[in-house]
């Protein structure tokens, strides 16, 4: 069944590219971008599929057993609408395309320079040969290693004041839904790409042969933000990040040491094992309210562009406070009305 679905998606991708995109590239004098744009069409197609699947699978859960029901007059719906825009511009490839155009030349320059210096990045299966005969296992190992990298990136996002200023945009949403996963500042996305790109220089790029499986991982990330009373249980919560597990990470209340806001808890993106190993796992009971206590009002419940601007403002304020060591309490730096 997966092969048949894969084949259908390939043909849709090919038809879109051949009939609509390629002629446009040709007439614009950009035909040498064909391979990159062809990959971009695949990204957008699979992104659209991931969005549809997330909605079909997670939305009924939100209707069935929501953690919260929101007062319409409160502006909650508008905040969720902004998250929908975040999701679409990310998963349909608009923001990734911009990041690619900006960052790819830098990555190529670094990679090219390293080749002249004699360094050729390895692949995991070259470092550990038995993997070569099991490409799907290789793919899964990559996902685990990359998830490990994401765990530490996430911890730094909370630990470093200037990075938290950006990441607070993801956390200031008080109405977590299946759409909240992509609510990130564009500079935060740049840092994420640079982080992943650096990892790729060390261990290689994950195989591209399993785009459907990647959709599965994106679904887990959507599900973990879903507004649903769903707990994977004591054993399941150690295997896979779920809605309850991640909601505790987004909790507005976990300010008590050692889980205070700058450090936090339950940082894992896919595999909770990292939280267990590095002692950041917090098996809290109940479904706490979410958000950042010091952030509310128009700076949170606003449109996409205003929210992005707010990120720049918070970053600037945090940097000013970093320079001004007399005020180490960076959280206060972007306190709003």
């Amino acid at each position: 069944m997966f092969d048949a679905l894969q084949r259908i998606l390939e043909q849709i991708q090919g038809t879109i590219f051949e009939t609509a995109i390629q002629p446009a590239l040709f007439h614009l004098g950009l035909i040498d971008w064909s391979e990159d744009v062809f990959d971009g069409v695949e990204f957008a197609l699979y992104g659209a599929l991931a969005v549809i699947l997330a909605y079909v699978l997670c939305r009924p859960l939100e209707l069935w057993r929501p953690v919260e029901r929101w007062d319409e007059a409160w502006g909650a719906r508008r905040a969720v609408r902004t998250d929908i825009i975040y999701t679409l511009v990310h998963r349909l490839g608009i923001v990734p395309a911009i990041l690619f155009l900006v960052l790819a030349p830098i990555g190529v320059a670094i990679d090219s320079y390293s080749r002249f210096a004699g360094y050729i990045p390895p692949e995991l299966e070259q470092l550990w040969h038995p993997l070569f005969h099991h490409p799907f296992a290789t793919f899964l190992v990559y996902m685990v290693v990359l998830d490990f990298g994401e765990y530490w990136r996430h911890r730094l996002q909370h630990r470093l004041p200037w990075w938290w200023a950006l990441h607070s945009l993801h956390h200031d949403q008080r109405q977590m839904t299946l759409w909240s996963d992509d609510r990130n500042h564009i500079l935060d996305d740049v840092l994420a790409l640079a982080w992943t790109g650096t990892l790729a220089m060390l261990i290689g790029v994950p195989p591209g042969a399993y785009p459907l499986v990647l959709i599965g991982f994106r679904l887990i990330e959507s599900l973990s933000h879903t507004n649903v009373r769903l707990n994977f249980g004591r054993f399941g919560s150690l295997l896979l990040v779920g809605p309850h597990y991640h909601r505790v990470h987004h909790s507005i209340e976990h300010a008590a040491p050692p889980f205070d806001r700058p450090r936090g808890c339950n940082f894992a993106i896919i595999f909770p094992i990292w939280d267990v190993l590095f002692r950041t796992w917090r098996p809290a009971a109940g479904y706490p309210k979410t958000g950042v206590a010091s952030l509310a009002g128009q700076s949170v419940r606003c449109g996409y562009l205003r929210h992005q601007w707010e990120g720049f403002r918070r970053l600037a304020t945090a940097l000013v406070h970093l320079v001004d060591r007399r005020r180490p309490d960076f959280v206060a730096a972007f306190r709003m009305e």
Binding site: E10, G14, F17, E18, G29, F38, F132
Partner: protein, 304 residues
């Protein structure tokens, strides 16, 4: 790795197979050219794009741009013999005398010149931008590489690694081939023609219209016919190799890219990048005989 199994267990000869590199799937497809069915698809490594045979015809070399390797496969048995580390090989080629092996890195803007027998790196040249297809002078002294990103063509002295000249040759040049008389033909992918170029100075001698997205070349075994893929038009132009007159146009939907001729010369096999298939065209009738489904983004092809 057991490529032998991929090519076909208990098949003593490989006379009826085609090998296709699926660049986005990191795999190698083997097609039974009698039944036009894919009989196996095997993981081969990262980013396989192009393959050639060694000058002695005994080995197939697969360029793995993603995993930075050259994979050597015994042409007769299909068994993998060796993997050699090489930085981002995309297009590859041997000089006619076999003394030099050249790899172009389209992603990293670089051309590498290796010793053709030991694969020791001799020269590494920055080449802005997107160095793509490769051709050699008949005397094996010079390599010509198209620069897709800057509409250029570069000429490099193989022994010294020095650049002879770089010229503008037309928008997004791709495929390149050396004619028997020594002039070069370049597929101008950003337009609808091929350009004949003077190898001594890079001057364009004439332009021959083929179709939108003129991309790559294949000469027939007898040297009388030249085939040009037009990737945007989804066609293949058939040219008289002597006069360069277009004698017919064949349909090849799906983003026709690399080509290979069946050993009997009756069929033209073409990879269709955008639709994950291989078009098989019967040359006598010019009819698209079948499209064989393979892996994602099939690129290089070799037909036994």
């Amino acid at each position: 790795m057991a490529i032998a199994a991929a090519i076909g267990v208990n098949r003593p000869a490989l006379a009826t197979t085609a090998v296709v590199l699926n660049s986005d799937d990191d795999s190698l497809s083997v097609i039974d050219s009698d039944s036009y069915k894919e009989i196996s698809r095997t993981h081969i490594g990262r980013g396989p794009h192009h393959l050639i045979q060694t000058p002695d015809g005994r080995t197939l070399i697969i360029a793995m741009s993603g995993s930075n390797e050259l994979v050597m496969i015994d042409r007769t048995s299909g068994v993998e013999k060796q993997r050699i580390t090489a930085s981002d090989p995309y297009q590859i080629g041997f000089s006619p005398d076999g003394k030099f092996f050249v790899a172009a890195s389209i992603r990293l803007d670089r051309i590498d010149i290796y010793d053709g027998s030991t694969f020791q790196l001799l020269h590494r040249l920055p080449a802005a931008t997107m160095p793509s297809h490769i051709a050699f002078s008949h005397d094996s002294k010079t390599v010509f590489v198209t620069l897709q990103g800057t509409s250029g063509l570069i000429s490099i002295d193989l022994a010294s690694g020095k650049i002879n000249w770089t010229v503008q040759v037309g928008r997004q040049p791709a495929g390149i081939i050396t004619r028997p008389g020594g002039t070069l033909l370049v597929g101008i992918m950003g337009s609808d023609y091929i350009a004949e170029v003077d190898p001594t100075n890079g001057n364009v001698i004439r332009k021959i219209q083929t179709g939108n997205g003129a991309h790559n070349f294949l000469a027939s075994a007898d040297g009388k016919t030249l085939y040009v893929t037009n990737r945007v038009a989804g066609t293949i132009s058939v040219l008289d190799a002597n006069t360069l007159a277009v004698t017919s146009t064949l349909k090849a939907p799906g983003g026709p890219d690399d080509m290979a001729m069946s050993p009997d010369g009756h069929e033209l096999w073409v990879t269709g990048r955008w639709h994950a298939w291989v078009d098989v065209i019967e040359l006598a009738s010019g009819v698209l005989k079948t499209s064989v489904p393979v892996g994602r983004s099939p690129h290089g092809i070799f037909v036994y």
